[in-house]
Symmetry: C2
Subunit: 115 residues, 2 copies
């Protein structure tokens, strides 16, 4: 079954899945931090104001299960764990850039938007 979607078809399951995946609270920011070069859990946390350890763990697991993030465990003492983007994850750069470009032109930075 061909599930490709005509540009721009009214409804597209792949689009729906992707937009909600990267739009989930903090997921976009985490992908962005990894694109910018963060590799350690602590680096990511430091770069994203308001993100808790618990939510970062949860989102990293989701992104890993989607094949976007890869988790590398180095058996040193103490153990070293690093997170990197897969090829699939790195190609989200084009999406991040399209959003940046739109936001630069139109968006007002978040000033306490209610959720």
């Amino acid at each position: 079954m061909d599930q490709s979607c005509e540009p721009v078809s009214p409804y597209c399951p792949k689009f729906q899945h992707t937009v909600e995946l990267i739009g989930r609270r903090w997921s976009g920011a985490i992908v962005r931090a990894l694109l910018a070069g963060a590799v350690r859990f602590g680096d990511i946390i430091q770069q994203i104001p308001g993100l808790s350890d618990r939510l970062l763990s949860e989102r990293l697991r989701e992104l890993e299960s989607e094949g976007i993030v890869e988790r590398h465990v180095y058996p040193e003492v103490p153990v070293r764990i690093e997170y990197t983007l897969s090829a699939k994850g790195r190609e989200l750069l084009q999406v991040v850039e399209a959003i940046d470009s739109w936001a630069e032109r139109w968006a007002v930075a978040e000033t306490g938007m209610g959720r």
Copy 2:
């Protein structure tokens, strides 16, 4: 204060606001339906499987308050209400296309992803 964000800076409030706005449950799909030409409440509902009247109303109000959707009321009998994208909303096409392109290459269509 200049709030523009370097490509790709680790954290960017404008990016954060935008990605979570379009990634909120159904919002991306609603923008997509409007880009594809839907104008009536009933048209949008029909095109998005699983979307309820209540959530569509709520999301349309949010998108209106963000200046992405415009609501037009025509005082006919019965009254006619139409929803269209503003210029700001129409330019989300570039974001939708970037997501489509990534999803076409990488994403598996949603097959009951847990939320």
